[in-house]
Symmetry: C2
Subunit: 328 residues, 2 copies
């Protein structure tokens, strides 16, 4: 049996780290997950990934030829291969590519998780035929990756694409970043939960949401109640998409993309997200941008998407080296 | 005498149209200016430019070898060579490249005026050694051009870089575009004039500005009074740079540039613009972007800059053709 060339994609998150093999065409050969345990040193995590990986490879010795490793991580710096002091990991700045390359003896490349998602969509998903698009991940926070003229925008330092931290409400909600009114305090899972509590304060209507404490509420419950017609849940989606539409109009004014791909937890509440976001976006666009930008869902399988994005980053890197064989 | 290879740069504005010859190194051989007269057909303007150009060339027959024509114009579309319905010209959509190429029998290329400024800075000015920067023109309105990884960002339709129309104050000042709270209603010459009148309403202090009617006030008067220590004039610059700093923080969150180049009328009030804009920008930046972005002045001569930018666009186009000789 001929072995399959694959990249190992690693999605390094605050709570868990998932990884799996992905071939050049985007076929994912299963994903495994372990706790990140960032209270222990980063090299401990790398060792634990390597142990699971070694067992996996040992079992399928002839099956996989691993070409390299792509990593998506919060505050991942593509240029330096570092993870730089993200709020949800306790490592300060970590030379993650160096650690991975040492233990695995394979080339590795790293970027932030939302950039990895954008490359995943470009190589394997909804961005396949697009040259100019933005990927927005609506998870606990709001992440983003920007593709201009077919290339991911890194900026001069590797940190471009922090759309979750554009200010949409001056003096608005306090954000985890220390500033006020950032888009992600409104348009994300944590944002819609905050909105539900603001609405409970501001509106008189009764709602099943009034029986649920802040710590017990999640995005799925709001979605479920919206489907049942709960007025506060419906209003919460309306507010969320209204502010998301306003914020995305500012992104369109910068970049004039042909599409914005929505991805992550909140985007699964499809009927309450895509159409209203599009309507509020259109309402806020400058005339020259009207009726040009599509708002579309991710085309990657939700469970494997982050790992596929990380692997896509490595495949992209390998294709660059093929094009420029003289460079390392 | 050997002739000098030059590009003709045309800066097409709402009131006047300036043009001149610029060589590959950014030497400008004088600029001539005629009224745009957009109440007459566009081809009338093209003919009048051609007449002046022909006389100029006839006088210096051996001196110039004109390689092509670059045009900067409001709502200029690089991809289509059209000027698309700008508020300050009355032509609707005009196939300007086609008109110019026909009359001049030379290759022509067009983009919007702020994009031309960005290419001018990149080729001849403050952007020479930069790969990631934004040019902001603070004229009557606020224009912008974005360079990512050495390449101007056009977006999918040629209209990227409308930073003047990001909303910084939801439900704020009514903009000429029909929307509310756009950055250019605060940070531009017309914006600071509006601010002066808002301050006259809101503050009790006396000021020489209270003797000047709206239609009689210009940016230079506000600058002059600020230098004299007039409290309202100083406060107007403070407000303007505060909101500009806030807006640019959103642009940095998108693009993470190494520098932002300020250009145009209002930027000539240097001491009241650069340092405070930088301070307000820093105050509003996400931590990972702090102390990284420079705010710098244009390095093009104010009078010739727009013409040089338009010519730079043609020189850039010619260099692309040299690199890809197979393409037309």
């Amino acid at each position: 049996m001929e072995s399959t060339k694959v990249a190992l994609g690693i999605d390094l998150g605050g709570t868990k780290t998932a990884f799996g093999f992905v071939n050049k065409k985007g076929k994912c050969y299963g994903v495994k997950s372990i706790p990140t345990n960032s209270h222990q040193p980063a090299k401990n995590l790398v060792k634990r990934i390597f142990d699971v990986y070694s067992d996996w490879i040992a079992k399928d010795k002839e099956k996989y030829q691993v070409m390299g490793i792509g990593i998506g991580a919060p505050n991942g710096n593509y240029f330096k291969g570092t993870i730089e002091n993200p709020p949800n990991l306790r490592w300060g700045t970590t030379k993650m590519v160096e650690l991975i390359e040492k233990d695995f003896d394979l080339p590795a490349v790293l970027t932030n998780d939302a950039n990895a998602a954008a490359i995943g969509e470009q190589k394997f998903g909804a961005g396949k035929n697009l040259k100019n698009f933005i990927v927005i991940t609506l998870g606990t926070g709001l992440g983003s990756g920007i593709v201009v003229d077919g290339r991911l925008v890194y900026g001069h330092d590797g940190f471009a694409g922090e759309l979750g931290h554009m200010v949409v409400r001056p003096n608005g909600r306090l954000c985890g970043c220390g500033r006020r009114g950032c888009l992600e305090t409104y348009a994300s899972v944590s944002g819609i939960i905050r909105t539900v509590f603001e609405l409970q304060a501001n509106l008189p209507q009764d709602s099943k949401l009034r029986k649920i404490a802040y710590h017990d509420l999640d995005g799925e419950q709001i979605y479920k109640l919206a489907k049942e017609g709960d007025p506060l849940a419906l209003k919460a989606f309306d507010e969320t998409t209204r502010i998301l539409g306003e914020g995305l109009a500012t992104s369109v004014a910068h970049l004039s993309p042909e599409a914005i791909i929505l991805f992550g937890g909140l985007s699964l509440a499809e009927e309450f997200i895509f159409k209203p976001t599009k309507q509020y976006l259109e309402k806020n666009l400058l005339t020259i941008f009207k009726n040009k930008v599509r708002i579309i869902p991710s085309a990657l399988p939700p469970g494997d998407a982050a790992v596929m994005g990380a692997a896509a980053l490595m495949w992209h890197e390998l294709s660059l080296k093929k094009d420029n064989p003289k460079e390392k």
